[in-house]
């Protein structure tokens, strides 16, 4: 291993809570990579006919898989909100300490609000599978 400092220089930052938001961005991103595999599996199941679709549907209908899907939904919404924060940063804005702190909290709370909305729509307003 090289002795020079390596990215992402994790040790130079104050730990919490804003750093946790950044770590969560990565974690939710990886979660969606797994979710992508699930989406491809579902699409292949539709294309393969009713029998394989029903076995996929049985798997996706399990309670623990539904919990995973809800987790995936939150991961997506969080990653989306944090991604917008990154896109704003990419324009060169919002790097002052107070701004970054505020946008961090805005990110978290918008993700939670969107999550509440979609969970309500998906599980309590009729469209449940």
């Amino acid at each position: 291993m090289p002795t020079r400092p390596l990215s992402p220089h994790a040790t130079i930052y104050r730990k919490f809570p804003i750093m946790a938001l950044s770590i969560m961005h990565r974690v939710t991103g990886v979660a969606q990579t797994v979710g992508l595999a699930l989406l491809v599996y579902w699409l292949m199941a539709v294309a393969s006919g009713p029998a394989s679709f029903d076995s996929a549907r049985n798997l996706l209908g399990q309670v623990w898989v539904k919990l995973l899907l809800a987790g995936w939904l939150f991961a997506f919404l969080y990653h989306l909100c944090y991604g917008v924060r990154h896109l704003v940063w990419d324009t060169g804005r919002g790097f002052e300490r107070a701004d970054a702190r505020r946008s961090g909290w805005i990110t978290l709370f918008s993700a939670l609000a969107l999550f509440a909305f979609f969970v309500w729509r998906a599980f309590f307003a009729g469209a449940a599978s």
Partner: protein, 127 residues
């Protein structure tokens, strides 16, 4: 003290020159995924049921396969670039890193080809 020159030590350890392109593609796919993913979620909520017939009819109709293929391509691309950075950050051994990066690309290629195949198959078989 090392006899190697500072340049000799630095060569091969620094930027590979592809970072700007990497970041730009990450941004472009992110922007594309905003509407595509919202379309996908809203479409799922709008499905009358998650029975085979309903899902198949939806996936095969109108612009759905087009958006779906675009979505999977953008998502896979974005996902591959993102996980690549994580591997580069946290896997210090060059050999393990190389194997992981190649495996990452293979898996994402499989995901894209399978999804495109599935969407086209359903769309072309639909009335």
């Amino acid at each position: 003290m090392s006899l190697r020159s500072p340049m000799g030590v630095a060569l091969g350890n620094g930027a590979a020159g592809g970072a700007a392109q990497h970041g730009w593609l990450q941004q472009v796919t992110a922007v594309a995924l905003l509407p595509l993913m919202l379309w996908f979620l809203v479409s799922l909520l709008g499905l009358p049921s998650f029975e085979f017939a309903a899902v198949r009819a939806w996936l095969g109709s109108g612009w759905t396969p087009v958006w779906m293929i675009l979505l999977v391509i953008c998502a896979a691309w974005h996902s591959m670039l993102g996980v690549q950075v994580i591997i580069e950050d946290y896997v210090p051994r060059k050999s393990v890193k190389m194997v992981a990066l190649v495996l990452l690309k293979f898996l994402h290629a499989i995901a894209v080809v399978a999804a495109v195949f599935a969407a086209l198959k359903v769309a072309l078989q639909s009335p």
